[in-house]
Amino acid sequence: MSSIDLIVGPIHPALHEPERFVFKIDGEIVVDVEPRLGYVHRGIEKALSERTYIKDIYLVERVCGICNVAHTLTAAQAIEQAFGVEVPRRSKYLRTIVHELNRLHSHLLILGVVCELIGFDTLFMLFWRDREVIMDLIEMITGNRVMSAYNIIGGVRRNIGDFEVTQIKGVLSSLAKRVKQYKKVFMDDPTIRARCAGVGYLSRAKALALGAVGPTARGSGLELDVRVDEPYAAYDEVKYCAVIYNDGDVWARLMVRLDELLASMEVINECLDKMPSGPIRVPVPEAAPQSAEGVSVIEAPRGELIHHVYTKRDDDKPFRYRIRTPTYANIPAVCEMLKGCYIADIPAILASIDPCFSCTDRAALIDTNSGEKRIIDILSLARRSKK
């Protein structure tokens, strides 16, 4: 029996980072997947150790545009740990609030994208409309819709007052109602059930063995949430329970994100209520006071994010900087999910781990037997997936 290679990527729809998947297909069914990583090696880790710590914060912000707050928060925490700096409590709360707002906008984005990929364009537009109000909140607090530039070493850059608190609470309460309605749609709607339930199955054992993180792991029933396991920022002072679904399919991963939206809103509200008064940042000299290392692990919207920094005494640049992004950890898991699925389900499954690939719309089909190559763009692949 001849198998055909279906090459998706390195430049691929709906994904934020170029990455190549070669699918061995038998008819319409994917038999095997071969991922190839490293298309966007930007040399960021080396660049980080060539720049001062202040510049580093802005460079790690650009590792991923969508979860930029997560990256700056992790970097700031890692560098603070290496420097031996304790940040004020109020700044921890503010960091938590903006981090959760960032998660809200990231989850709403990917939920919309998945809906669009499975052909449910109405829901896609509704999600993205709601994402807009979250981005307005982020702009109100930080000064920009996406690139927030909010966390710095030693705290946060802007304070919030009573006006902002009422604004955030007002928006979140109306958004919570809508999210509950979307959740009902996700539970009942036959289209979504047909396209998501049972698709891209990842068992709990496989998720554990392949080292899945974030909503991908939680959708397979793994109780893995850094906010619960190793509370950072203000999570040790607010109530938070990890959202777990046991189904292990695309639907479960989306439901995890939907429930996390509600959980995030509760965290933000609790932070706003509990927020202590006090300074928002402490002055930190540019050079490292000691040779040390700092590790910071946080729960980014896509999963566990790790930053690791080595400092050199009296040097204003890190000696070594290392970043482990959650999508990287989820690639083996997504390969496992893709085995046995239909070609039309590939976009939905890939998007269900909320990957951080680059987003230009093209894919190539190669028939290995005849050597025939066809380039298809994302639109036609998406069209195919909507059939």
Binding site: R281, P283, P285, D316
Partner: protein, 353 residues
């Protein structure tokens, strides 16, 4: 050759923190006011008991050098020109009016040194929303009578800091906490003449950290003859058999330094006997009445439980008159010999140093 000449023309020697150490700290001129710490936008300076110390790489922005009250670059003409006052006086500085005032707030009366004017002005400004916080010297909770810089954000904080301390403290370090840490936009600085000069410096000197100056709403100056390092003050009291922790109040009245425990006066020595204990940097200071403050407040010249208030600028008048009109302070005309005695003492400080 032409290019080289051009490059030479454009070559500017930027003053780094090292120059500040060379020109001020190593010459025993440093008043430990803390303005260099607050001026530094890359947080490379920290304050120790011996003076400012470098803790990070200096980026040569010159802000610390030009903000320093004792820096050779400080231009007195600019400082003088910044005050829009009617009467020019060499000894008392330029001023609009001199009056006696005292507080009417009972909670201030119980803690205040004399008239409680500074505390009341701060409370008024905080309640009216004229300022978000005040930079004050509060008492340390660890060492008795050791002043520590503090940002007063509430009336309780202000009341805690009431009362004169005769040791110097780097009050302006708290400006960094207020402006960088708390992100306040309007603060009031309370300080002795050297600190007031620093605060006025950052408002008017073009090369000083004027971003900080923009956020200083008012400068309240205190009268200061000289200050004593906390360590030496404690030593002096111990040599006289007094534990500094038990002292309830210090005062300088009628040329004598008086120490109270409870209500009883336990020690009174002529102030000139204390000369050996005073800070060395006070020897070069000629300013008794905080020339460059918006409002200067002190005990000299008014009777018991009254303070002498010198209003020097429009902002100062706004603050002081507002407090009077809203019933925070009561005012009376200063006695004519009050100004004379103030002038006499100020002249003595100016001629002595």
């Amino acid at each position: 050759m032409e290019a080289l000449r051009k490059a030479e023309e454009n070559f500017v020697v930027l003053k780094a923190f090292n120059d500040l150490v060379l020109d001020v700290v190593s010459k025993d001129l440093c008043t430990k006011c803390g303005m260099c710490v607050s001026s530094c936008q890359v947080h490379a300076i920290s304050m120790t008991d011996e003076g400012p110390k470098s803790v990070g790489p200096c980026r040569q922005c010159e802000a610390c050098y030009y903000g320093c009250p004792r820096s050779p670059a400080t231009s007195e003409e600019l400082l003088k020109a910044s005050l829009s006052s009617e009467k020019k006086d060499d000894i008392l500085g330029s001023y609009n009016k001199i009056v006696s005032a005292r507080t009417v707030l009972s909670e201030v009366k119980s803690v205040a040194q004399d008239g409680g004017v500074v505390t009341t002005l701060l409370i008024y400004a905080l309640e009216e929303g004229l300022i978000d916080g005040g930079i004050v010297a509060s008492k340390s909770t660890i060492e008795a009578w050791k002043p520590v810089p503090k940002v007063a954000l509430s009336i309780n904080d202000v009341l805690e800091a009431a009362g004169t301390k005769y040791s110097n403290c780097p009050s302006l370090v708290a400006l960094k906490d207020a402006l960088y840490g708390y992100d306040l936009s309007k603060v009031c600085v309370v300080g002795v003449p050297c600190q007031v000069t620093a605060a006025r410096n950052v408002k008017v000197q073009p090369k000083a950290a004027r971003k900080i100056g923009d956020k200083i709403a008012f400068i309240i100056g205190l009268f200061c003859m000289e200050s004593f390092p906390h360590v030496k003050l404690a030593q002096f009291l111990t040599s006289n058999g007094i534990d500094i922790a038990k002292v309830s109040k210090f005062d300088i009245k009628e040329g004598k330094f008086r120490v109270y425990m409870g209500d009883a006066e336990v020690l009174s020595v002529p102030i000139r006997n204390l000369k050996d204990y005073a800070n060395r940097f006070c020897e070069t200071c000629r300013d008794l009445t905080s020339w460059y403050a918006d409002v200067s407040v002190g005990a000299i010249g008014s009777g018991r439980d009254w303070s002498t208030v010198i209003v020097r600028s429009d902002e100062g008048a706004k603050l002081f008159d507002g407090a009077v009109q809203n019933g925070y302070l009561e005012v009376k005309d200063i006695e004519s010999d009050g100004i004379e005695s103030l002038r006499k003492i100020a002249k003595r400080k100016a001629s002595k140093n």
